[in-house]
């Protein structure tokens, strides 16, 4: 019923690093390209996706014994779409400024393959608490990736950080990181900039993973590793 520490740690490492939605599974690229022109937008769309994934995983997992196998996909989509619509309505009501900025990408969360993928691959086979943790942790993986891409694109593209923060926290001011007369780098703001930044982050992640694997190999068998050099 409940969740053990090890189980949670395993779910968390998979979601945040090993199976990171944007860096490993490369899912949800469309919102990634469109929304990460600044940090705040990237974080807020990720939070909305995180919420949808945790809720839909929880709902599907709780109802999994009542869902006939043959019609599971329509039912999954029905549940996830209903939850996306509710999140859409709530954002429209309580975070209206941000809702206008993110626009179509909130309802489009339902078309993000990662939502259905986690329901089908995890929630349909695991108890509710584990399923909700999986959805949330996959969301956290997406969150830090989109935040990083958004921050890099914003700094390179406009020389600021946290622009649009006043839409979330009224009265808060963005930071001007580069001199005010920084001309801006249009490439970073346009979609190709997102591809380039994403590619660099994936490369760094692979480099870290490769280095760790090499180190683990050396520790396990110093002879082989020594021979390789």
């Amino acid at each position: 019923m409940w969740i053990t520490r090890d189980e949670f740690r395993d779910i968390a490492t998979k979601g945040i690093w090993k199976q990171n939605t944007s860096l490993v599974q490369i899912l949800g690229l469309c919102p990634l390209l469109a929304v990460t022109t600044n940090l705040v937008n990237g974080v807020m769309l990720s939070l909305a996706t995180l919420l949808v994934m945790a809720l839909s995983n929880f709902a599907v997992s709780s109802l999994r014994h009542f869902i006939p196998y043959e019609i599971r996909i329509p039912v999954f989509i029905l549940i996830a779409a209903a939850l996306v619509t509710v999140v859409d309505l709530l954002m429209n009501a309580y975070l209206h400024g941000l809702y206008v900025v993110l626009g179509i990408f909130i309802p489009l969360i339902i078309t993000n393959c990662i939502v259905l993928a986690r329901i089908e691959a995890f929630a349909a086979k695991n108890p509710p608490v584990q399923a909700a943790s999986d959805g949330a942790m996959m969301g956290v993986g997406m969150l830090w990736t989109l935040a990083l891409i958004g921050a890099l694109r914003e700094i390179l593209g406009s020389g600021t950080l946290f622009s649009g923060i006043d839409l979330v926290i009224p009265g808060a001011q963005p930071l001007q990181l580069l001199p005010a007369d920084y001309p801006g780098l249009l490439l970073a703001i346009l979609p190709p900039g997102a591809f380039i930044v994403l590619g660099c982050i994936i490369a760094v992640k692979n480099w870290i993973d490769a280095r760790q694997a090499e180190r683990a190999l050396k520790q396990a068998n110093p002879l082989i590793a020594g021979g390789c050099q």
């Binding site: 019609i71 509710v86 429209n92 009501a93 400024g97 005010a180 249009l186």
Partner: protein
């Protein structure tokens, strides 16, 4: 006639269909509840959003009525670039017409429509413009939005705040084309579209200002409120 296997298949598909219907009914009800629950707040925030834009272009000293309640619905109007009916918000001071704000669409932006809310005084002169929605290139043409404009003191769009009534048709252009409006280097398609649309809208408002301020819209206002 039918074999037991066929009967079984029929029963299973019937049950499956019923399960699906049950799920649909349940989640539709859930959505209906969420819709009704958020409706008042959404209407409130849409209203305050509109009011916030209005306040930027209609100086508060110009009116003592509620322009959001004193509306008139215009049919699609080529001179304004609108393709669907749009609202005119009328501001009055001591019951005298003082200003109005209406939707203006520039159809020829660099990438698609630029939707604006423009305010005009009782004589039909433009007194303020704000861009409501656009798809201009980020960092290049999007300075028509004050939030994106690097010049925070005097954003580009504020040039419309004090356009002299005597401005000739030739002057309603960017400097580069022989007019009096500034434009940032590198992106002139966007300001050209905005200036042209506002100029056309001003001509329309001057020509129709009697009708636009007419009280006759009292029942239009009632309809407008209940209809929403």
């Amino acid at each position: 006639m039918s074999t037991p296997a066929e009967k079984h298949a029929l029963r299973v598909s019937g049950e499956t269909a019923l399960t699906l219907v049950a799920f649909i009914v349940f989640f539709t009800a859930f959505l209906a509840w969420a819709f009704l629950f958020t409706k008042p707040t959404i209407e409130q925030s849409a209203r305050s959003e509109k009011l916030a834009v209005l306040n930027q272009i209609l100086p508060a000293k110009l009116y003592d009525n509620d322009p959001l309640a004193d509306t008139l619905t215009l049919p699609a109007e080529p001179a304004l670039g609108t393709t669907v009916p749009s609202a005119v918000y009328r501001a009055r001071l001591n019951s005298q017409p003082s200003a109005l704000a209406l939707d203006v669409v520039a159809p020829d932006g660099y990438s698609g429509n630029i939707r604006m809310l423009a305010a005009f005084n009782a004589q039909g002169q433009v007194i303020g413009v704000r861009v409501v929605e656009h798809k201009e290139t980020p960092g290049l043409g999007d300075y028509i939005e004050p939030r994106k404009d690097k010049n925070k003191e005097r954003p580009w769009i504020s040039q419309f705040d004090h356009v002299p009534a005597s401005l000739s048709a030739q002057n309603w252009h960017v400097r580069k084309d022989g007019g009096t409006f500034d434009a940032y280097a590198g992106a002139t398609v966007t300001p050209r579209a905005v200036i042209k649309a506002i100029y056309k809208a001003q001509k329309f408002v001057i020509a129709n200002r009697q009708a636009l301020f007419a009280r006759e819209a009292k029942d239009g206002l009632a309809k407008g409120q209940n209809g929403r």
